[in-house]
Symmetry: C2
Subunit: 245 residues, 2 copies
DNA sequence: CAGTGGTCTAGACCACTTC
DNA sequence: AAGTGGTCTAGACCACTGC
């Protein structure tokens, strides 16, 4: 009699299973961004494991910036609405090092059928409805960023220029408070391009001026892509920073 | 009698002290890149703490990519000479996703007096001797990267064009094997620029073509800056990738 | 089979926050 | 003082590697 081959998923530590259960609770919005989750002891009792095992699960989620630990207070669900996290994904900063206060101006917010490229990135079907937002961000009165943003129209139902204009603050805080969608991570691809006529006009630069092109896909819980950005930065007075570890 | 004010450094966990001691051993080259450090039990005995405390110290060093754990084998000092780590700091990749094989061509390697900018970044005194290297990297015969590199001439004594040309492989593996200098992390600042005549010639592009300008400072143990790079990437067929967490 | 890192537990105590 | 996360220990057992 042949010996059965080994199972594919050979081994999963307890703390990984706990981590998955906590993640599921986050995804199911059982605990909302900004609020505290049960204490380590409570979770240990709920899952019938020791505190140390819960600890290790939470440690990893905190390392991934999904949870935030605060000694003496508790463990909290990460939120883009905290001051510290407002510009967590913004890597642009002034060459001078001064504080960077970007002012928003929305140019458009329209529903359209997704192109095949957008659909693929958002894991939708080509032609599914998406919302396109155009915006310019300025610093000290100078336009610095021009970007187009795409969102699934079903997830962000009813999003309009008016709603955007009522909001003052970062987009990710907006998504979170208005649509219950918390961004967990993002991936960017960066190129240098020459400004065409449209970009030159928007960013008040000569035709052909070099710009940073930043393509971003942002993900919510469960590695679900929910936002596409196609941004151009004027980097004459500011730069993109990155730390390599 | 007045109560003495609180000490400035109020509290330092044991595992942080252990971590500092391991770091000191790395910096002192007691254990070399690629070799294994003593087992957790041995270190626990040496420092008179429990295995768990050593574990936590090593966990953090592994998270910072200074050490690499291998179950069943031991814990090893990170090295740029392993295949996996060869291009740890290279964030450029082809749009097509194919494998990126860059070919080196060194244009110059000359000693000079450091400018004040270079000196400040390398934490040297202005005028201290540095070595400047110019190189071009090509992919499929096309020049993609032109960069200037500066190193302290005292740390990299005797570095010459001949030595560079004898070497085939990444620079950081070269620094490590030839000068005992292991790079731990790096910081980059990125801008978009228009190619001037010199860059256009080197990268075989029309004048004014947009290029990615990447300024890098690389650090060895103890946050000591030891290498400056001033690189320009042609990003028409490739892009810079970044993950935001 | 011995040695390594990886997991899990139980319990003690510390540091910080809040009441 | 009570409750939270943070540190530290000791010991058991598991998974992986190499002899």
């Amino acid at each position: 009699m042949p010996i059965p081959s080994l199972p594919a998923a050979s081994f999963s530590p307890l703390y990984q299973q706990i981590k998955a259960m906590i993640l599921a609770s986050l995804q199911a919005a059982e605990w909302l961004p900004g609020s505290s989750i049960p204490s380590e002891m409570e979770l240990a009792a709920r899952y019938l494991v020791s505190q140390g095992t819960v600890r290790k699960a939470i440690d990893e989620l905190a390392a991934e910036n999904l949870l935030v630990r605060r000694q003496g207070k508790g463990t909290f669900v990460a939120t883009h609405q905290e001051d510290e996290w407002q510009y967590r994904f913004l890597r642009l900063e002034p060459d001078t090092g001064e504080k960077f206060l970007l002012v928003n101006r929305f140019l458009a917010c329209e529903q359209m059928k997704s192109t095949s490229t957008i659909a693929k990135l958002l894991k939708l079907k080509a032609g599914d409805p998406v919302i396109q937002i155009d915006r310019i961000q300025s610093f000290n009165g100078k336009p610095i960023v021009f970007e187009e943003i795409w969102l699934s129209a079903t997830r962000f139902k009813g999003l309009s220029l008016d709603k955007l204009n009522e909001w003052s603050g970062p987009m990710y805080a907006f998504y979170e408070s208005q649509y219950g969608t918390h961004m967990v991570r993002a991936e960017e691809q960066i190129k240098a391009i020459n400004a065409n006529q449209e970009l030159a006009t928007h960013l008040e630069l000569p035709l052909g001026h070099a710009l940073l092109l930043v393509d971003r896909v942002a993900f919510t819980y469960g590695n679900k892509p929910v936002e596409i950005r196609h941004a151009r930065y004027n980097t004459s007075q500011q730069h993109y920073v990155n730390k390599l570890n």
